[in-house]
């Protein structure tokens, strides 16, 4: 049987997220508890979380979360890391042994900062340097996989049901101003830890429910710009697209949403504001190959916020609710109620309409 990355595996899923607009930190327990009512949306072949604001004491360092098949792989990889980065701390990510989660690889984290000399040599900025380094490890080092590489954030994922994955990673011991969660239902895979969601690059993390029909069009386009889609998952390609549009091309979140979930031409033509019409036409014409079609609901986590987005036909469920300073997003309302029984203003965003929530400036 082919492993994830060697073959493209379609899957259905559950997603959930929470964010405090005031930057109040929340324990990770809530987020994995909330996946329980959506148990049936996963099949135990993958679950994971991303937490933002969880490493305040190392917030200036890139936190690399990594899987290693064995000790030798890790040692080799650490040599590579040391060539490029200053490692301020390296440790095993603490886990809890539970019968539901087995066969775990070696799971480590490194807080690193790029070596200036190397960046100058490669003529790149810091983020590009980190991204390329991650891509290099994931592409070229068999048995080593960077599954989280942002600052003051981290992804935690495993093969198993997500609620168990949360327990496994002791998420109740972390506090973050926002969390995203994912439970996976791949239709045909032995399950691989690296293939679980969220998928991340730098501080972008994506949880995704859907199976996009534009995958290969998107992949073959984005790969022109140095990205390598090793996992052949939607999440991966969407993450790269978001990174490309926002970080490389400098689009805003809303503009990026206008590319990947571009409104129909008829909708664009119906816009009364000519500037809006022009902008949307421009984005669609300029980035046709980054239009994502087919069903998806995604939550993009980034430094200081979340963006939820459905495909433009809204072929996947996704609801949003609020309470006080918190905003909740989930595939099902039950998950929101689990986190906040008194959640208000529950609504289902329309297809292609991004929901962007940002933490107040300076609050994280």
């Amino acid at each position: 049987m082919k492993r994830e990355g060697e073959v493209r595996i379609p899957s259905g899923c559950a997603i959930a997220a929470v964010i405090s607009k005031d930057g109040n930190r929340m324990s990770g327990q809530k987020i994995y508890e909330c996946m329980k009512p959506m148990h049936d949306r996963s099949n135990g072949l993958g679950g994971g979380f991303a937490g933002y604001g969880i490493y305040p004491e190392y917030k200036d360092f890139y936190a690399f979360h990594m899987f290693f098949d064995d000790r030798d792989t890790r040692k080799n990889c650490e040599v590579f890391l040391k060539e490029r980065f200053e490692i301020v701390k390296s440790e095993i990510i603490p886990t809890r042994k539970i019968p539901q989660i087995t066969n775990e690889p070696d799971i480590w984290r490194y807080f690193v900062t790029p070596l200036k000399s190397m960046m100058e040599k490669m003529q790149t900025d810091e983020k590009e340097f980190v991204a390329r380094s991650v891509m290099k490890i994931n592409t070229e080092m068999k048995g080593a996989f960077v599954f989280s590489s942002g600052k003051n954030m981290g992804a935690f994922k495993a093969v198993g049901f997500s609620e168990d994955v949360g327990v496994f990673y002791r998420l109740e011991e972390y506090e973050g101003y926002s969390w995203t969660a994912h439970g996976r239902y791949p239709t045909n895979t032995p399950g691989w830890w690296g293939g679980a969601h969220p998928f991340t690059l730098l501080d972008y993390s994506i949880v995704h429910n859907g199976e996009i029909s534009s995958y290969d069009a998107n992949r073959r386009f984005i790969e022109m710009f140095g990205y390598k889609c090793n996992l052949q998952t939607d999440t991966e390609v969407i993450t790269y697209i978001m990174d490309y549009l926002i970080r490389v091309k400098g689009l805003t979140l809303k503009e990026a949403a206008g590319v990947i979930a571009a409104p129909f031409w008829s909708t664009i033509e119906g816009k009364s504001d000519p500037a809006e019409r022009e902008r949307l036409t421009y984005l669609r014409t300029m980035f046709p190959s980054l239009l994502v079609t087919g069903p998806f609901s995604i939550v993009l986590g980034f430094d200081g916020g979340l963006m939820a987005l459905n495909d433009r036909l809204k072929l996947r469920s996704m609801v949003v609710g609020e309470k006080d300073d918190k905003v909740y997003i989930a595939s099902e309302e039950a998950a929101i109620r689990s986190m906040e029984p008194d959640a208000e203003n529950i609504w289902a965003p329309t297809g292609g309409e991004p929901v962007i929530i940002k933490v107040k400036d300076g609050a994280y």
Binding site: S213, W265, R279, G294, L313
Partner: protein, 501 residues
């Protein structure tokens, strides 16, 4: 009879029980196959003149006629086949180069027919085009501009010149002269109604058709016939024709007999003179010369119109395309070896060039490998026969397709492949006024619109099945394709997996 005699290729079968001697067949046959025997009140046929264009068959009001392949055969020989032998006889008789027309009829692989399309099941939904929007609009042109913002941080929405198509199909180049005024009128009117483009070919643009300019691609070829400033400015885009799939490496030759009246005026050459397009452009002997022509044409059109460079699919097409992409061209058009022609030497038509499917796949991949795929749009032609061919081409990586033979078929062409005779009974490949009038553009344009409308429906159905509701999400989406009966190498070049994988 003599050694020169070759038994007619076709037989006219007339059902005497049904023939009412109305003489329609006689009046409609420019080859003068049919005649009326007054004394006996019967129709008779001279089969030596029949080209099997089926005009008489189509117009016979009593279905009394059919044309069949003659069963007078030479002794079977898998190596020396009938046609091969007859060609030898012809050349032994004439000492000349054999001429033929339309596309390569040889049984070479048609890769479209060995590629299958995906559909959604369970894990993601097919989309019903009758219920949901299904978008086929395409923009052709460069898409590699930098994102720029004004002082308020708003996007500056300026794009390089683009061609907007309502569907990813255009009518490819057929010159006025090689085809008739009415054929051009039909194409121009249909393109306008459909929101797509047609292409003048290298015969210039008749003044009557300037009104269709926004839906016209004006071509500049090696003969430079009919090229002048107003002509360049009349179209929506300018195409430099470097080669043609049916006859890569050679030019064109429209005999003086067809350079009559408006054809001569439009081409800006004297009546009766042969219109000879040289094999090369004599100002382009290398890629850097091409770049100069591209920019000369951009200058002439004030950088408002995309420039297309059309080449035939030949062996190192990927490298050629890469060079063109870097020459400043906005669009590359590649014409495969099955593309049609009004006249070409048979040997060249049947033996030179490569299949468009392979050319497209390798060009698209090469441009991606070089990271320049978005600097140029890719249009492919050379026997795109149906909506599924279009879908497969787009999924392999094309932005749009050029169709010509299918368009001619819609106009009545029955692929008798004798365009070079100038006696097209369907009023298409002829300049004889009595024949030209047989193609009423009211009918012609309606049929073209019908055909493309039908294709558009089919394209939408196929897209919907794949769960794709916008054509741009199909472009280069090779995961939607699987090969059948192809070897590893072919699959590798096409960049697709085998069915079942």
């Amino acid at each position: 009879m003599s050694i020169r005699y070759i038994y007619p290729e076709f037989e006219v079968v007339r059902n005497e029980n049904r023939c009412i001697a109305c003489r329609v067949c006689e009046r409609q046959c420019a080859n003068e196959v049919h005649s009326y025997n007054e004394e006996k009140n019967v129709m008779i046929s001279d089969e030596t003149k029949c080209v099997n264009c089926q005009r008489c068959v189509s117009l016979c009001p009593t279905r009394a006629l059919k044309i069949v392949k003659s069963d007078c055969t030479l002794r079977e020989n898998a190596n020396w086949q009938n046609d091969t032998i007859k060609e030898i006889y012809k050349q032994a008789g004439s000492g000349g180069v054999l001429l033929s027309s339309m596309g390569n009829p040889k049984p070479l692989p048609v890769y479209w027919d060995k590629i299958l399309i995906n559909a959604s099941q369970v894990t993601n939904p097919p989309i019903d085009p009758l219920r949901e929007p299904m978008e086929t609009r395409v923009f052709l042109g460069k898409k590699n501009g930098e994102i720029e913002r004004d002082e308020n941080g708003n996007l500056k929405c300026s794009l390089p010149p683009q061609l907007e198509l309502s569907m990813p199909v255009m009518f490819s180049a057929m010159s006025y002269g090689s085809i008739s005024y009415n054929a051009h009128a039909s194409l121009a009117r249909a393109a306008t109604e459909l929101g797509i483009l047609y292409n003048t070919g290298e015969g210039g643009l008749h003044e009557d058709f300037y009104v269709y300019g926004p839906n016209t691609i004006v071509q500049v070829a090696s003969g430079r016939f009919g090229v002048h400033e107003d002509y360049l400015k009349a179209g929506a885009a300018v195409e430099i024709k470097m080669g043609q799939g049916a006859k890569p490496g050679i030019g064109g030759h429209l005999p003086g007999a067809k350079i009559v009246g408006d054809v001569s005026k439009t081409r800006m050459i004297p009546e009766g003179s042969d219109a000879i397009s040289p094999a090369p452009h004599h100002d382009i002997y290398s890629i850097e010369d091409l770049r100069q022509l591209v920019f000369s044409l951009k200058e002439a059109t004030e950088y408002k119109k995309p420039v297309i460079v059309k080449v035939a699919a030949v062996h190192n097409i990927a490298a050629i395309a890469s060079g063109i992409a870097r020459s400043g061209a906005d669009i590359i058009a590649i014409d495969g070896f099955r593309g049609g022609t009004g006249a070409a030497p048979t040997r060249i038509r049947d033996n030179v060039g490569i299949p468009i499917e392979l050319a497209l796949a390798s060009v698209d991949q090469r441009l991606r490998d070089e990271g320049i795929r978005n600097t140029v749009s890719l249009v492919v032609g050379g026997s795109i026969r149906s909506a599924s061919d279009v879908i497969k081409a787009i999924a392999l990586g094309a932005d749009a397709c050029y169709v010509a033979t299918a368009a001619l078929l819609a106009l009545g062409c029955h692929l008798c492949r004798t365009c070079q005779s100038g006696k097209c009974n369907w009023g298409i490949a002829t300049q004889r006024p009595d024949l030209v009038k047989r193609l009423n553009p009211d009918i012609g344009s309606e049929r073209l619109v019908n055909l493309m409308t039908a294709w558009r429906h089919e394209i939408k159905e196929l897209m919907g099945g794949m769960g794709i509701n916008s054509i741009e999400a199909l472009k280069g989406n090779r995961l939607m394709l699987r090969g059948v009966g192809l070897n590893e190498k072919e699959l590798e070049i096409l960049g697709i997996s085998h069915a079942g994988e």
